[in-house]
């Protein structure tokens, strides 16, 4: 079971109270961008076995979006953090490094 803590309202609940919103920290490429960038933005997603960063929404609770870092094989949640950020906080990345030495995700390590 995947158990998440909403960083907005503080509720800790299992997955069915939330709704997954796909990969975190995507950079949008819209009108005026190159076809390669637009194609990457539209279609290319990480699908890791291990450390992953995602967007989630507390759909049945406070209704707010947030970010989560978790392991796709064990469902361990390393942490959740606000939606209003472009990358995972440093302390969270350090915590992941302790638990999963050598992890990589896109350009993050």
């Amino acid at each position: 079971m995947l158990i998440l803590t909403c960083p907005v309202c503080g509720v800790r609940a299992e997955e069915t109270e939330f709704h997954g919103g796909g990969e975190a920290h995507l950079k949008r490429f819209g009108p005026g961008s190159s076809e390669e960038d637009f194609q990457e933005y539209l279609f290319m997603r990480e699908n890791p076995r291990g450390v992953h960063f995602e967007r989630w929404r507390h759909a049945y609770g406070c209704g707010k979006w947030f970010h989560a870092a978790r392991c796709t094989t064990t469902l361990e949640v390393f942490g959740t953090y606000p939606a209003q950020t472009l990358e995972p906080p440093k302390d969270l990345r350090a915590k992941i490094s302790k638990k999963r030495p050598g992890w990589t995700w896109r350009s993050l390590t």
Binding site: V8, C9, G10, V11, A13, E14, T16, E17, A59, Y60, G61, C62, G63, K64
Partner: protein, 192 residues
């Protein structure tokens, strides 16, 4: 003149391990705005008996009070007949503050689940720890009840009260009645 009616006309269920009662008309007003804004706080405080509920909390007595819905939403409970004048009073007090006030009384339904096994009945339907230690007076929990959203709080009389969308009132009443059917005791958090 039309006379307002609640979603299920005051339906009740009493042949099981807990009692389910639809709450007669309840005034409910949604205030959307920045709850950290001093003007918004000053406007809301009188409805919470001089205090504002923090995240996950409510200050409700009988049919009046405040419930924290999200960082930018507070639910104001008031007597049904007072909803219109309460909306006007809130708007007046808010002045130019960036906020939205809407009477949602007729968009919602409310139920009370009572009896020693009330907590177990709700625990069958929601992914929430309803033990008296984890869910006590003053708390307010928005969650999933089977397939629909609901918000639940413990009452002074020991029962649990919930609100849901009016269009889902029949579904919720049927859910609660099935979860409370005779012979379905689970014995997790029996009270009293």
């Amino acid at each position: 003149m039309s006379s307002p009616v609640s979603a299920l006309g005051g339906a009740s269920f009493s042949e099981g391990i807990a009692r389910i009662d639809e709450v007669a008309l309840q005034g409910m007003i949604t205030l959307r705005g920045d709850l950290s804004d001093p003007v918004v706080q000053k406007t809301l405080k009188p409805f919470g008996d001089g205090d504002l509920p923090a995240a996950g909390e409510a200050r409700i007595e009988a049919d009046r009070g405040l419930a924290w819905m999200s960082p930018d939403e507070m639910l104001v409970l008031c007597p049904y007949a007072a909803a219109a004048e309460t909306v006007a009073a809130l708007q007046e007090a808010l002045g130019d503050a960036h906020a939205l006030v809407v009477d949602v009384s007729d968009a919602r339904a409310s139920f009370v689940v009572s009896g020693p096994q009330a907590r177990d009945v709700l625990a069958k339907l929601c992914p929430v720890d309803f033990s008296p230690a984890a869910f006590s007076l003053g708390m307010f929990r928005r969650t999933r009840m089977a397939q629909v959203p609901a918000a639940i709080w413990p009452r002074q009389d020991g029962a649990l009260q919930l609100i849901c969308f009016r269009s889902q009132a029949r579904y919720v009443f049927d859910l609660l009645s099935v979860a409370a059917q005779a012979g379905s005791e689970v014995g997790m958090h029996v009270q009293g």
